[in-house]
């Protein structure tokens, strides 16, 4: 049986699946790079950002990392480009990237 999600894929044999398709680790979804879905890309304009963090809780994809009370660069591996954060920002510190 292969128990680590990163080693489980659609090539492994039935004998290697976890019993009942259980998973024994947290947050293995991070292995799925949903950033590939993105059509438009939000851009963080750091100099305009007041670090109010109003954007952070509204990201459905946990892609606005916050550390020590400050947001950092978008996690573009997972950001799906919904744009909710752009509207959440009262300071125009997030905008759509020119394509």
């Amino acid at each position: 049986m292969i128990t680590r999600a990163e080693e489980i894929n659609e090539k492994i044999a039935w004998q290697d699946l976890t019993t009942g398709c259980e998973i024994y680790e947290p947050g293995t979804s991070r292995l799925t790079k949903t950033g590939e879905w993105r059509v438009r890309t939000p851009e963080w304009i750091e100099e305009k950002c007041k670090q109010c963090l109003l954007c952070a809780p509204f990201c459905p994809d946990s892609s606005i990392p916050v550390k020590d009370g400050k947001r950092g660069e978008f996690d573009y591996e997972h950001c799906k480009g919904c744009g909710i954060c752009i509207k959440a920002c009262p300071f125009n510190a997030i905008s759509w990237k020119e394509s």
Binding site: T32, C59, D68, I84
Partner: protein, 311 residues
């Protein structure tokens, strides 16, 4: 303790990226906030009804959850949670789990899995008084199967089973008032909230619900960009319109006592909510003005009722 957004956002994430919910789905925001409301030292078990969230947040071998999670079927999240809660109690009693180890049991389902098919098990679990919190992410229709009407779909909304047409102005019936039905169960804590501002309203209600002993219920109006037909980035505007029109009033009921948690400075007309969404587009066609009047009349009556209850 006063709500502090910075502190909340400093918490370790407990609903992770890489789930497969649509871009802009409100359910992702709900799950993150729900998990922030569990104190960092406490663990949780999430019991999820079948639906968008389930197929998106645990697709083998990828779970978006930091905590333990179980999905068994569509209509039984509350029954499954009842079993988990019974297990927790007996394991504590038998000393398998130390008394001071706190595990919070949460159930979550969409409106289909809560208002409709899951209602029997929800009602049963509340009557029995299990110590758990049920979160409904109410997106007003069966979204996982493609926007079929549910008992949570508001009147006049076009759904794929109540489409508007020459003979139809969308769904004929008003939304079932599940929040009040849950109050009628005698639950010690029932609340309605949605996604706006600093998420303070959501957080405080979720935390109070999770840390009140007994079965508690939080109903979250959760926009779905595909089903409601609006551009995904407008989620907060739509939630704000829902509360400012009083279509989705924010209140909590603690041991039967109603308390309004938000009163709009100026109550906006229902058009402010309806006009932002394609599902109500037909209501704005010449000849259908009466639908807006009827919707307004209903909202006004419900709002008055609620204000009376909150007095």
């Amino acid at each position: 303790m006063a709500y502090n957004l910075k502190e909340e956002m400093n918490k370790e994430e407990r609903f992770h990226s890489g789930h497969r919910l649509c871009a802009g789905c409100g359910a992702g925001i709900v799950c993150r906030a729900m998990m922030r409301a569990v104190d960092p030292d406490d663990k949780a078990v999430i019991c999820n009804a079948t639906g968008c969230l389930e197929v998106s947040s645990f697709q083998y071998p990828y779970t978006a959850w930091e905590d333990s999670y179980i999905h068994t079927a569509f209509e039984n999240a509350s029954a499954t949670a009842s079993g988990v809660e019974a297990a927790y109690k007996v394991m504590q009693r038998k000393g398998v789990i130390p008394e001071d180890r706190h595990v919070k049991i949460l159930a979550i389902g969409g409106d289909g899995g809560t208002y409709d098919i899951g209602f029997q098990s929800l009602s049963g679990a509340f009557e029995r008084g299990h110590d758990f919190t049920y979160f409904c992410y109410d997106n007003n229709a069966y979204m996982n199967t493609g926007t079929q009407r549910s008992s949570a779909t508001p009147r006049f909304a076009s759904a794929t089973t109540t489409p508007s047409g020459v003979e139809s102005v969308g769904k004929k019936q008003v939304q079932k008032d599940l929040t009040q039905i849950m109050v009628a169960h005698g639950s010690p804590y029932v609340a309605q909230t949605t996604l706006f501002g600093t998420m303070k309203d959501f957080h405080e209600k979720a935390h109070r619900a999770i840390y009140t002993e007994g079965p508690t219920f939080v109903n979250v109006l959760t926009p779905c960009p595909r089903g409601w037909q609006y551009p995904a980035d407008e989620l907060i505007d739509i939630c704000k319109a829902a509360i400012d029109t009083c279509i989705w009033p924010l209140y909590e009921v603690v041991n039967g006592e109603y308390r309004l948690t938000y009163e709009p400075k100026k109550k906006l007309p229902v058009e402010e909510f309806m006009s932002k969404q394609g599902r109500f587009k037909h209501c704005f066609k010449p000849g259908n003005e009466w639908t807006i009047e009827a919707a307004q009349e209903y909202v006004d009556r419900k709002w008055e009722d609620l204000l009376n209850k909150c007095k």
